[in-house]
């Protein structure tokens, strides 16, 4: 079993779990002022898209996919990042 676990993907999974908990704490804090809420929101969205990219590249194994398929996925991540952050900031 340890042979199955001893890979980079396991490390990626641990990073994903930690980032989830960090975002959870960041998003649950009610004590933020308006400015801090905006920075917390941008951080949380950026972390989410970073996590999406990790899931695609390591879990779906797109890092080893032919360049066009990987490119479409990378493009999707960039578009999602720009769209969510812009819509969050300016509606």
């Amino acid at each position: 079993m340890s042979v199955l676990l001893r890979t980079k993907t396991t490390m990626i999974w641990l990073i994903l779990m930690v980032l989830t908990v960090v975002s959870w704490l960041l998003g649950s804090d009610h004590g933020f002022g308006a400015d801090a809420r905006v920075s917390a929101g941008v951080t949380i969205l950026a972390v989410a898209i970073f996590k999406v990219r990790l899931v695609g590249l390591y879990f779906m194994d797109l890092r080893r996919a032919p360049t066009p398929l990987r490119g479409v996925f990378e493009g999707y991540c960039v578009a999602l990042f720009v769209m969510t952050i812009a819509m969050f900031l300016w509606g």
Partner: protein
């Protein structure tokens, strides 16, 4: 000499590049990803039009349920990754069905948490009819839940294939990879839904 060697390396690298699962599956996966991206945009646009309403409504959601479900789906994805790896290793092949079963168990936990969450909200009168926030909340989470249930059907097929067919064939591996990618998509979508709907504050 160095150039020749590096040229050879890059060719070897190209040869190992391959599409996970069936190519047609990716049209479906990207189609779904685009539909959800549009829905995120529509949700954030509506939020921009009524930030105060969205803030008050968001505060009635239980963030802990959303976070626990994110962790549960990440665990299920890892179990599916391990199952795929086990299937390709003679020594660990017998573990593959059990690992998929673990992922199905995680899916059931997600559904259980969602049922409790919906039940609590509806009991408090927080239904899609109340305002646009709840309408989008139920549409986004409901559509995701539908994909998750489909994914659990896919995992069940993967489980019986892994259990019943001992030999690894190309077709079996492709079916497994494709099913795994669909399940990871369910995980990936929730990774965005959770922060967009539950976490980011107006």
């Amino acid at each position: 000499m160095t150039e020749v060697a590096s040229g050879h390396d890059s060719r070897a690298c190209d040869q190992t590049r391959r599409i996970p699962g069936e190519p047609g599956l990716w049209i479906f996966i990207f189609g779904d990803l685009v539909v959800f991206a549009v829905l995120f945009g529509v949700f954030l646009h509506a939020r921009g039009a009524g930030p105060e309403l969205f803030r008050r409504s968001q505060d009635t959601l239980n963030r802990d349920y959303g976070a626990v479900n994110t962790l549960v789906l990440l665990l299920s994805s890892m179990l599916v990754v391990l199952a795929s790896r086990a299937l390709n290793s003679e020594a660990y092949q017998r573990l593959a069905p059990r690992l998929v079963l673990g992922a199905i168990g995680c899916g059931l936990v997600f559904v259980g948490v969602k049922v409790v969450e919906y039940h609590e909200m509806i009991n408090e009168g927080l239904t899609p009819a109340v305002n646009s926030f709840y309408m989008y909340y139920f549409v986004l989470t409901g559509l995701h839940l539908f994909h998750l249930l489909l994914g659990m059907g896919v995992l069940t097929v993967m489980f019986s294939t892994a259990r019943d067919t001992p030999a690894t064939t190309a077709g079996r591996r492709s079916l497994f990879e494709g099913g795994a990618c669909f399940w990871h998509m369910v995980d990936l979508l929730w990774i965005v839904i959770f922060p967009v709907v539950f976490l980011v504050r107006s």
